[in-house]
């Protein structure tokens, strides 16, 4: 079995160090928000994990297009890897968002466009995984996965737009999107620094996880080939 590449190990260490630094920044460097108090600190990782989720789904859609163009197996592995990461991180976003929403909006959930879109995104990519599980032929699985990833990704902005219009035509009860609305706040320089660092850190987490998951996919392929050879 081949060993972990050196650069991947380096990336592991950098990511872990940044992770610890970001946690310290969130708790000790960033000031406590005046109105919402300590719960606002969830914001830094909340937005950052949402960012990773979107990055994951974007990667899958791009990998899908490249796969259909080239039929090169690696892009299918990349697509699946990115979807798995995306699902986990959007879920983290939803959970941290609920933790934030409970004290600030006095509810765990509202049908705000972002929340609605996040929920449907999770369902789209759950369907993606189920679609793949229903197909035995790896070639067809990759093709169908790629097609569905593209369709799913293109539909996301439409869902967001229609969910947003759904609110604006109706009277807005909890104006979450409007500037200065409930839960909105101005960031101090320290908050902004913490926020940007969290984003950067999570991007490193994404790269690290993606690299590891792709390696796992390649190894799984190799294992499947060995099994086939032994059975022959």
């Amino acid at each position: 079995m081949e060993s972990t590449p050196r650069w991947l190990k380096v990336l592991d260490y950098i990511t872990a160090t940044m992770f610890i630094a970001a946690i310290l920044m969130v708790f000790f460097y960033a000031p406590t928000e005046a109105v919402m108090g300590a719960v606002q600190r969830v914001f830094y990782f909340h937005v950052a994990s949402g960012w990773v989720g979107m990055l994951g789904f974007l990667t899958t859609a791009v990998a899908g297009v490249v796969y259909l163009k080239t039929s090169c197996r690696i892009w299918d592995i990349v697509g699946l890897a990115a979807v798995e990461i995306g699902i986990v991180f959007v879920f983290i976003t939803i959970v941290t968002g609920s933790i934030w929403a409970r004290p600030v909006w006095n509810t765990w959930w509202t049908w705000d466009p972002r929340l609605t879109t996040a929920a449907f995104m999770e369902l789209i990519y759950a369907a993606y995984i189920m679609l793949r599980q229903g197909i035995d032929d790896p070639d067809r699985r990759a093709r169908f996965g790629a097609v569905y990833a593209i369709i799913g990704f293109v539909s996301v902005p439409f869902t967001f737009m229609s969910a947003r219009m759904f609110r604006t035509i109706h009277p807005v009860v909890v104006g979450i999107n409007q500037p200065g609305s409930l839960g909105g706040f101005d960031m101090t320089p320290r908050m902004l620094q913490t926020f940007l660092f969290s984003l950067l850190m999570f991007t490193f987490v994404f790269a690290d996880l993606l690299w590891r998951r792709i390696r796992l996919g390649l190894l799984a392929d190799k294992a499947a080939q060995m099994k086939m050879k032994r059975n022959e």
Partner: protein, 228 residues
């Protein structure tokens, strides 16, 4: 019209004709969609207690939920027929562009969907005394059904080739189709409530843009879905 385009449309016409005449003989697909649609409406009657007050605001929602559920029956059936009896392989052997098959299937699915709607609407009208024959409502119905079958035909042709088959289609289809359902629902509701057209137009625009973009994607992607 050039000869190529003529042949293209002729081939689409042939596929639609095949589907319609097969359906005319068996009536399997339409009858099951229709009975299912009526059952869903009856269930909604009790689930939502459709009395005179809420009827006016609920009608569009009930109808679109009904068409969305009944539609998956039709889509599954229409593509499963091709797959099971090896008809799809036969179609693929025909010396025509693959997109012809897609558009042919999509158009016949649209016809089935519209036929079911054409029967369900008067029945709904009769049962609940809500006048549904408003031109804007009918246009919305057409645009919404179009978006539904554009994506539905592509996803159904994927779903029938998987192990889980019929149960997979709604799971694949609904999260992607949700913008169509939301905008069609809001637009229909707007027309039925007599809102100004300017207020409803944004929803119609979303429907049109969605239909166009997904028709283009399906046109390209269908090749990869039926490839062997």
């Amino acid at each position: 019209m050039s000869g190529g385009a003529k042949a293209y449309f002729k081939a689409i016409h042939a596929i639609v004709w095949k589907d319609l005449s097969a359906e005319l003989r068996s009536r399997e697909l339409l009858s099951s969609m229709l009975v299912f649609a009526l059952l869903v409406i009856l269930i909604f009657n009790f689930a939502l207690d459709l009395d005179i007050k809420i009827r006016s605001t609920m009608t569009a929602g009930v109808l679109w939920a009904t068409f969305a559920f009944a539609g998956t029956l039709g889509l599954n059936r229409s593509l499963a027929l091709e797959k099971d009896r090896g008809c799809l392989d036969g179609l693929l052997l025909a010396p025509v562009d693959r997109s012809v098959i897609y558009f042919g299937k999509a158009i016949s699915n649209l016809v089935f969907m519209l036929l079911v709607e054409a029967i369900v609407l008067p029945v709904y009208n009769f049962l609940y005394n809500v006048n549904l024959f408003h031109w804007g409502f009918l246009v919305t119905l057409l645009l919404g059904s179009l978006g539904y079958v554009i994506v539905g035909t592509l996803l159904a042709s994927m779903a029938v080739q998987t192990r889980t088959r019929d149960i997979l289609l709604p799971i694949l289809l609904f999260p992607v189709i949700i913008p169509v359902l939301i905008s069609a629902l809001k637009a229909s509701n707007g027309f039925l409530q007599g809102l100004a057209v300017a207020d409803i137009l944004p929803w119609i625009n979303i429907l049109i843009v969605y239909d166009l973009i997904f028709a283009a994607i399906s046109f390209v992607a269908f090749d990869y879905v039926v490839e062997e």
